[in-house]
């Protein structure tokens, strides 16, 4: 990072921003260029839009460190830009701004439309503006302002594009048969919130009926061995046990979302039935998880039995606060299914899921996965 450098509004900059500092913060806090506004810090609102190598980008999700060698231009650097000058006149005339907070990002996007899409109609202008939110104007004035500048047909050179090299440098590619060969790689990160429980959190329900090829007594015996059950949970480990109470942890990964849930579970047993309940917290996101699994072991035949699982779980905290909870929930369901298969494997001396062919595992998931989408969009 020591040779870090880029140009900002035409001037060479040689600061060394911390790796985690995004470009918007760097401009605002280090260079005191506060014309770039921060509206959401997740790339949706467009307030922080500025130019990197002439192209509009979200400066709130681009790290300053990633800009090495690049040409950065913020609203302050467009003071004498011909298109921006025209847009400013049009914006004020068309009443295209009110509070002014979205305006710098809006001007950068508008400039891109003028340069890139000289023939845009109003519908196209609106489509191109979809990534810049304005809460004040209702967009009417903004669209009108861009229309006026487009119609003025300014004599300006089209933007230069970064061209894609036409030859993909060769790499030694060894063809394998389509599909991923079974048994080679572990299914990564098939871990997630631990099913343990506290009390009356209202949660999402999941019912699973799993046929296990084992006599009822064998299955029942296995269910009474918490260490064995825990070993079926990917990423889980028991750290201590005190009677019915088990303390443990579970590593979780859902793509880049990683967590480590630490918590406890209490297991109570009845007559071929029991309850595991517990609670944990992710050390990283601080998300809390509560779960209760009621299970019943029923005979199907002399060699087969049925494990009925009725799982209630709830998440509280950062990971619960997305409208796309379906993904998190689908994932939790998947875990349950893996547990069942591992249990089967343990009981029958087969391979645990970690080494099982992925596709067959996925097929088993279908039965339970779908239910989760009921809660998607009410």
């Amino acid at each position: 990072m020591s040779d870090m450098g880029f140009t900002v509004n035409g001037k060479q900059d040689v600061h060394m921003p911390p790796a985690r500092m995004h470009l918007a913060d760097y401009l605002r806090e280090t260079l005191h260029l506060t014309g770039t506004h921060i509206g959401c810090e997740h790339g949706v609102c467009g307030a922080c839009t500025l130019l990197v190598d002439g192209e509009p980008v979200r400066s709130c999700i681009m790290f300053a460190t990633a800009c090495e060698g690049r040409d950065i231009r913020s609203i302050e650097g467009l003071e004498t830009d011909k298109v921006t000058i025209a847009l400013r006149a049009a914006f004020t005339s068309a009443h295209a701004l009110q509070c002014g907070y979205c305006t710098p990002g809006m001007l950068v996007t508008a400039r891109d439309i003028i340069l890139r899409l000289p023939d845009a109609d109003d519908a196209r202008i609106r489509l191109e503006l979809a990534g810049n939110l304005c809460r004040c104007t209702g967009y009417e004035g903004i669209v009108r302002a861009i229309r006026v500048v487009l119609d003025a047909k300014l004599d300006i050179a089209p933007p230069q594009r970064r061209m894609v090299p036409v030859a993909l440098p060769a790499a030694a590619v060894t063809p394998l048969s389509p599909g991923f060969p079974g048994g080679q790689a572990p299914i990564e990160s098939l871990e997630k919130p631990k099913s343990s429980k506290l009390a009356a959190k209202k949660g999402s329900g999941l019912v699973q009926h799993l046929r296990i090829t084992a006599p009822r007594d064998v299955l029942w015996q296995a269910m009474q061995d918490p260490v064995l059950v825990a070993s079926c949970i990917p990423g889980a480990a028991i750290t201590s046990r005190d009677g019915d109470r088990i303390t443990g942890e579970m590593a979780v990964a859902l793509g880049p979302i990683e967590g480590k849930f630490i918590g406890f579970a209490v297991i109570t047993y009845g007559d071929f039935a029991g309850t595991i309940s517990g609670e944990g917290q992710d050390r990283i996101s601080k998300t809390r998880l509560s779960a209760q699994a009621d299970f019943t072991v029923r005979p199907v035949s002399t060699i087969e039995s049925l494990l009925e699982l009725n799982i209630q779980y709830s998440l509280r905290g950062a990971l619960a606060q997305f409208a796309r909870g379906a993904v998190v929930q689908a994932f939790a369901d998947e875990i349950s299914s893996i547990v069942a298969q591992n249990l089967q494997a343990k009981l029958t001396g087969g391979q645990p899921i970690m080494a099982a062919p992925r596709l067959s595992a996925m097929r088993l998931f279908w039965a339970v996965l779908w239910r989760r989408f009921i809660n998607r969009r009410k």
């Binding site: 894609v164 036409v166 993909l168 859902l254 239910r371």
Partner: protein, 260 residues
């Protein structure tokens, strides 16, 4: 809403990237999906390795049969026709409808596939087109048919230290038809339902995405206008009827577009 601390390095070459990733680094290309997760601190990697400037990932090539697009080619480059198309302007049109231009300027096709968001356009579309993932690792490279690449929402079967090098997409044969339809209320929104249909002399493939987990791929007799519904319903018996209906509508409209 600032990221937790991490270290950053820019990998100059594919092998360097593989090495850093093998040592626990997480790859970042355009960062348009990872960036928000970092800011929200729901992803807290210790070490990021930027692969965006590895020239081996930024090119394109083509043969008579297929088009190969480097993993770090951006959506905007594809939208602008800077990558060769497979026919019928499919790739530029799909690219143009991903998120917003400012995001497309940074976001990459490979990043999108590796992120494996179940509602992502490329995931569903490229599955339907029968694309392959070309991966690179010091131990060897692999070609993985895309329907074996995704293992779940946000998960792929890339091994630690393995990098997605490029995506190879077969060209459309003259008899091939393709249709894609997504239901969302506004541009850039996560789709409520999406389906892609690919039909040629030998192949019929329907891919249904935005399900919360990896898309459902239907083939052969199940991938016909009459075959989809029973096949889809039988695999989604616990899905609520509204979602089922919307997904089937997306499929119908994708078929209609393929026929158009």
């Amino acid at each position: 809403m600032k990221p937790a601390p991490f270290t950053w390095s820019a990998a100059p070459t594919l092998d360097a990237a593989c090495g850093t990733m093998r040592a626990g680094g997480r790859a970042i290309a355009g960062g348009q999906s990872l960036g928000p997760m970092l800011n929200l601190r729901i992803a807290q990697p210790d070490r990021l390795v930027s692969i965006a400037r590895i020239s081996a990932l930024c090119g394109v090539s083509e043969t008579a049969d297929d088009v190969t697009i480097g993993a770090c080619v951006t959506h905007a480059q594809i939208e602008d026709g800077q990558a060769p198309d497979i026919g019928q302007d499919i790739l530029p049109r799909v690219a143009a409808n991903i998120a917003y231009r400012a995001v497309r300027n940074r976001g990459t096709i490979g990043g999108s596939l590796c992120h494996a968001d179940p509602a992502a356009d490329w995931v569903t579309v490229l599955l339907a087109l029968g694309a392959q993932a070309l991966t690179h690792a010091p131990s060897g490279s692999r070609i993985i048919a895309l329907d074996g690449f995704f293992t779940g929402a946000f998960r792929t079967n890339l091994t630690p230290g393995e990098v997605l090098h490029a995506i190879r997409i077969p060209r459309l044969t003259p008899d091939a038809r393709f249709g894609y339809y997504k239901i969302c209320r506004k541009p850039g929104e996560f789709a409520h339902a999406m389906a892609a249909v690919f039909i040629s002399k030998n192949i019929a493939r329907v891919v249904i995405g935005a399900l919360g987990t990896i898309p459902l791929v239907l083939m052969g007799a199940e991938a016909t206008p009459d075959g989809v519904e029973p096949a889809f319903r039988s695999r989604t018996t616990m899905l609520d009827e509204v979602t089922q209906h919307m997904q089937l509508t997306a499929v119908k409209r994708a078929f209609a577009r393929a026929a158009a």
